[in-house]
Symmetry: C2
Subunit: 237 residues, 2 copies
Amino acid sequence: MKNIPSLDDQAECLTRSHTLFRHLSDKELTGLQNEKLTEFHRRGTVLYHEGSRINGFYCIEKGIIKVYKTGIDGREQIIRFARKEDIIGFRSILSHELACTTAEVIEDAVTCYISGETLINLVKNNGNFSIELMQLTCRELGEANEYITDIAQKTVRERLAEILIHLTDEFGLDDNKILRITLTREELSNIVGTATESVIRLLSEFKQDRLIELSGRKMKILNIPGLMKVGNLYNYK
Amino acid sequence: MKNIPSLDDQAECLTRSHTLFRHLSDKELTGLQNEKLTEFHRRGTVLYHEGSRINGFYCIEKGIIKVYKTGIDGREQIIRFARKEDIIGFRSILSHELACTTAEVIEDAVTCYISGETLINLVKNNGNFSIELMQLTCRELGEANEYITDIAQKTVRERLAEILIHLTDEFGLDDNKILRITLTREELSNIVGTATESVIRLLSEFKQDRLIELSGRKMKILNIPGLMKVGNLYNYK
DNA sequence: CGTGTGATTGACGCCTGTCAACGTCTGTGG
DNA sequence: CCACAGACGTTGACAGGCGTCAATCACACG
């Protein structure tokens, strides 16, 4: 959790190559560079808890963060994952609300932290930055609406197939077609919104149907069009 | 659909009493007043369709609009309702995407239309407006996340009870405790994400349990705490 | 080697979606 | 004024998807 000096220099996230920051002036950019607090977080670390006050936002430099809400009986509902170049925590700052989600590291991560005050100043003073951030937020909102529709209308089987496709898109496959994100069965069930046992049963059905291959938590994606068919994703991308 | 001059003068939505516009300068405000196109829309009118390009946004002056996505088999999923002072359509403008929802009038409405260009100029040039709009968007995003969790984790029965509570909060009850929004059974099912028949059955169970009373589409809310209990809404408001 | 977490499998039953039939109400046209 | 169509609401029957509970296995770690 402590600030490691050498990390600050390596961190590349707050530069113009990042869409969000491309319209910043030199001054604004160096301001961010000087202010930023680069941290390394091990798997399992919680960046912030649902219900807590957040005073800044995180830009992910490396690793994977899962963002979830806690629902009935403490059951977690994963809302999204954040990875390189994604930013998290800004929502609560801008809406002046407490954090509505918990952010937990699931793959060792490096993040840059910037204060909320700085963010608000940027929004107020740099119109183009404002537009970029607004775009980001609006896209997220569009995705959330999409997700609502899917979850409300699709069966668990369809949703699971869809999630596998989304994960493939977002994190990609390695040379052996193995998904570049590792999730427990329980985490998968907390994305889909179902019981762990159901995920296990459906995954082995997918395996029987030669759509995927399993070896522990490693998942090999064999047949993307097949999965899309199961997930009812006809006009996707 | 045509512009009725007298309406323009009555319309009050683009004023400083509206939170979103409270930081506008006199000049910006009169600009909006001059530009705005006030329209009356009868029930059933569609303001814009999913997948179409939107060139401006609507501020609702009066009436109710349902905002929905079209999912599997053309089944509609209602995302939210917009009423007095709500604005719709700005998301697509800011994210430079096609409309991801359809907006349909379900109670005769009066709206003010403002071009997207004007909106973007305001965001770019007025930092405080920018912040207000960002807050709005971020709140919506927070609500969407909430909704995702509910829909993924709750049973249809719980969700229906919850929706009734939400509708009560948003639209209120008249002197006879009758909900101030009228929906068909099918529309209710399209919010909850279930079959029409299920809604009908659950509603009559709620009626038997003295939680509500029904007479056609009019719904009397008898026992709010009871509904909250059914909907698992312990720490709500 | 004991302990704990995660994965798997089976049994069981309820919630909920689907299909079908029928009732109700409203508006339209002859 | 009546017949009819069409949209909406209601009820019943039925099957199956999926959640829950319980037992067992696999694996990592101190």
